[in-house]
């Protein structure tokens, strides 16, 4: 599960207007698969033709100079709920460093419930990791926060929980929404040495709580990221891992309702 504090399974419907409100999309913008949303700039008609609804605006293309983030070519989509895709989240060097660390650390904790099974790791509780310390650097997190905020056109908290998940064969995450008061948005980054299309462990977006409501299945290209607002309609799941190991980095943006006693987090500058 990608929940920052634990599992919360809330299955309920959400109106289109509510989703627009959550995502900061203009009311009346259809949420069907062919819709397009620019990132802070003027929509370009040339990008409207591809059928799954996506848009990139070069005026806001992200070319970070730091050594951690790439976070480039952000493409937004609206179905089954608003989300964005970034084919390259970290720099290649940092993604390799982070993946190597995930593969070698023994900081994992097994978490199993009726709904999911996975190994978890909270970065706030990992004290000795000099090679990847910049993952929680305030300036880096500010960049992440600012871009996600701009994509969804909503202000986001500077409090960000960062965790990692490791799923081995047999582990999975059932259909859920992560609709809890303390969490507003989630960003999931895939890290791996290459996973075949039939290896399981896919992040799946659904339009409802039924397995038949599958709308989008994401491939697991390493260093790709998906971001989305959390709400009563943000149904997602992780299919059971069949082969290999699935690693993800999870950024969770906290709301004012998230207490310090309940959540660990880093602060963006």
């Amino acid at each position: 599960m990608d929940c920052a504090r634990g599992m919360a399974h809330r299955c309920s419907s959400i109106s289109t207007a509510a989703l627009e409100s959550i995502a900061g999309l203009a009311p009346g913008v259809p949420t069907g698969g062919t819709d397009v949303r620019s990132i802070g700039g003027t929509a370009r008609a040339a990008n409207l033709q591809r059928g799954i609804g996506k848009m990139v605006d070069s005026e806001t293309a992200i070319k970070p100079s730091d050594k951690v983030l790439a976070f480039e070519y952000i493409v937004t989509r609206t179905s089954p709920f608003p989300h964005f895709i970034s084919p390259r989240f970290y720099t290649e060097e940092f993604s390799n460093t982070l993946l190597s660390w995930l593969e070698s650390t023994n900081a994992w904790n097994l978490k199993e419930t009726a709904l999911y099974a996975q190994y978890e790791l909270g970065f706030s509780k990992v004290k000795d990791y000099p090679e990847i310390r910049t993952v929680s650097d305030g300036a880096v997190l500010a960049r992440v926060r600012d871009e996600v905020s701009r994509v969804f056109n909503v202000p986001l908290s500077r409090r960000i929980n960062i965790s990692a998940h490791k799923l081995v064969p047999g582990q999975y995450g059932g259909i859920h929404t992560d609709n809890v008061p303390g969490e507003t948005h989630r960003l999931v980054v895939q890290l791996n040495r290459g996973r075949s299309d039939d290896s399981g462990g896919n992040l799946v977006f659904l339009s409802g709580s039924s397995p038949q409501d599958v709308e989008t299945v994401f491939k697991q290209k390493t260093n790709s990221a998906v971001g989305f607002p959390l709400g009563p309609g943000s149904y997602h799941a992780i299919t059971q891992v069949k082969t290999g190991v699935r690693f993800t980095i999870i950024y969770t943006f906290l709301s004012a309702a998230a207490s310090d006693a309940e959540y660990s987090y880093f602060a963006a500058n």
Partner: protein
């Protein structure tokens, strides 16, 4: 033109991350259905205070042994 090319590259790269293989999509639905069935079964067992592997049938308990 460079900017347009950048757009196209971003769009094509993001598009490539979406699974379109019909067989795999169907397999995903089957996998999620199995996960859902296991989840409901385990949830009911937990509510009934049963343990995994005790040989009890959830439905036997629900039906009073019928």
């Amino acid at each position: 033109m460079d900017k347009i090319a950048t757009h196209d590259r971003g769009i094509s790269e993001a598009d490539a991350l979406i699974e379109k293989n019909a067989e795999i999509l169907e397999q995903v639905r089957k996998d999620l259905s199995q996960q859902y069935t296991r989840f409901m079964s385990r949830l009911v067992k937990e509510r009934l205070g049963l343990r995994e592997g005790d040989g009890s049938s959830v439905f036997k308990h629900l039906d009073g042994g019928a």
